[in-house]
């Protein structure tokens, strides 16, 4: 909501779960690739990094996507 700007919280960190399920065999960090995909989808600046706008979007209540592939 429009208000007096507060100091941005530079200490926000992104807690990542199950990064290890992706095999990292060189090339781009798969998490960065996923973040870019997400940022592109939501019209955010595509940085591949968990910047504040990205974190804010990630924290919104949302529909979960079932991990069908692993379930199968």
């Amino acid at each position: 909501f429009p208000a007096a700007p507060e100091a941005e919280d530079e200490g926000k960190t992104l807690q990542l779960v199950e990064v290890s399920i992706f095999s990292v065999s060189g090339g781009e960090n798969p998490l960065a690739a996923k973040l870019k995909e997400m940022q592109s989808f939501f019209g955010l600046e595509v940085t591949g990094k968990p910047d504040l706008d990205t974190l804010e979007m990630m924290q919104k209540p949302r529909c979960g996507v079932p991990d069908v592939q692993r379930y199968a």
Partner: protein, 365 residues
């Protein structure tokens, strides 16, 4: 669409409610599910029949944390629900996070809205990046009584299952785009240095120091306000905005609609022949508010709380040929009037129009 384009091979589908959340009455849960299914059956040839004691195509349940589908829920907020694409077994099933505050109104998370979204997945739709679409991934509240399936969702589901069998094809609201050259506004107001442009269910928000324009639902800030706001103005002194629709008005301070609202617009001193206000703006310097109705305008004294004498006056007499005023606001000493896709910059000191622009001039198109 969901990768692989899964779809049900037949149009007559079954659903079963496996359990209920204790947070709502069973009848209200049943109603939310029925209405959510109607969202999709109203625009396609699909039909849904409830079954009780056998396996259905779409099994709906409330689940807690790890519920053995490799996609555990996460407690309150965060992920609200998920659903599986069409198919056998778990295909088509809907799981709702039991730990959410499910409601039938604007508090917590509206069950009908989330169910309707998840059922879209059950039928084969993936997520849309249209922020106004039902299939957009993040939650936003719409009054279920006012809900209309957006055109983006209609196009998506009809691409899978075809059009409705009704003679008159249903259509839905389209999300406004800031740089659409045909964009017009219902109303505009300043708010703490920003400018809010209202259009249907939406507000476009422009901060003077940011190039991008934000598009949000009005309900994001004010779930109690109606869509289609017809006039709005800010009173900087009281830090309030006043919102008009038809013969009612609301006063808002921050996130809150002040108690006792809506009230009739006639409290301002407008005659009963006035059925709606087209536009309004407040002059911070004088404390006067200007109401525009058809080809006339009134001037209201916010300090005295009464209409000034000698009004209404003809708009053309004092503001020039700006036509019908759709929206207006004052900023940095100028008044901006909107008529369709045209915007006029009016200098109240010179008492004349000094510039004519497109309605989208504020959006850095």
């Amino acid at each position: 669409f969901t990768p692989g384009n899964p779809k049900w091979k037949r149009n007559n589908l079954t659903y079963r409610i496996l359990n209920y959340t204790p947070k709502m009455r069973r009848a209200d849960v049943d109603e939310a599910i029925r209405k959510a299914l109607n969202v999709w059956s109203n625009v396609t040839p699909l039909t849904f029949q409830r079954v009780e004691d056998k396996v259905a195509d779409i099994m709906i349940s409330f689940a807690y944390r790890d519920h053995r589908d490799n996609s555990p829920f996460d407690g309150p907020n965060g992920q609200l629900a998920h659903a599986f694409q069409p198919g056998e077994g778990i295909g088509g099933d809907v799981h709702m996070d039991e730990e959410e505050a499910w409601t039938k109104d604007g508090t917590g998370y509206n069950l009908f809205i989330v169910l309707a979204h998840e059922l879209g997945h059950s039928l084969g739709l993936s997520h849309s990046n249209d922020p106004g679409a039902l299939m957009y991934p993040t939650y936003s509240y719409t009054d279920p009584n006012e809900f209309r399936l957006p055109q983006d969702d209609i196009d998506g589901i009809q691409a899978i299952y075809g059009r409705s069998n009704t003679a008159v094809q249903p259509t839905g609201p389209v999300t406004p785009e800031a740089c659409d050259p045909n964009l017009t506004f219902d109303s505009i107001t300043t708010l703490r240095g920003e400018i809010f442009f209202f259009k249907g269910r939406y507000m476009l928000r422009k901060h003077p120091e940011r190039t991008e324009t934000e598009l949000n639902f009005i309900s994001l800030f004010w779930p109690r306000l109606p869509s289609g706001i017809q006039a709005a103005y800010e009173n900087v002194e009281t830090d309030e905005i006043t919102i008009f629709k038809e013969d009612k008005y609301w006063v808002i301070r921050g996130y809150d609609v002040l108690p006792g609202y809506p009230k009739p617009i006639y409290r301002f001193g407008l005659p009963k022949t006035v059925k709606r206000v087209n536009a309004a703006y407040n002059d911070e310097a004088t404390g006067k508010t200007f109401f525009f109705v058809a080809d006339r305008y009134w001037r209201y004294d916010e300090k005295k709380k009464s209409m000034d004498h000698g009004y209404p006056r003809k708009i053309v007499s004092d503001f020039g040929n700006i036509g019908r005023v759709d929206a207006a606001f004052q900023k940095d000493g100028y008044v901006y009037f909107f008529h369709g896709t045209t915007q006029f910059q009016f200098d109240p000191r010179a008492k004349r129009i000094v510039r004519k622009m497109k309605s989208t001039s504020w959006f850095s198109c």
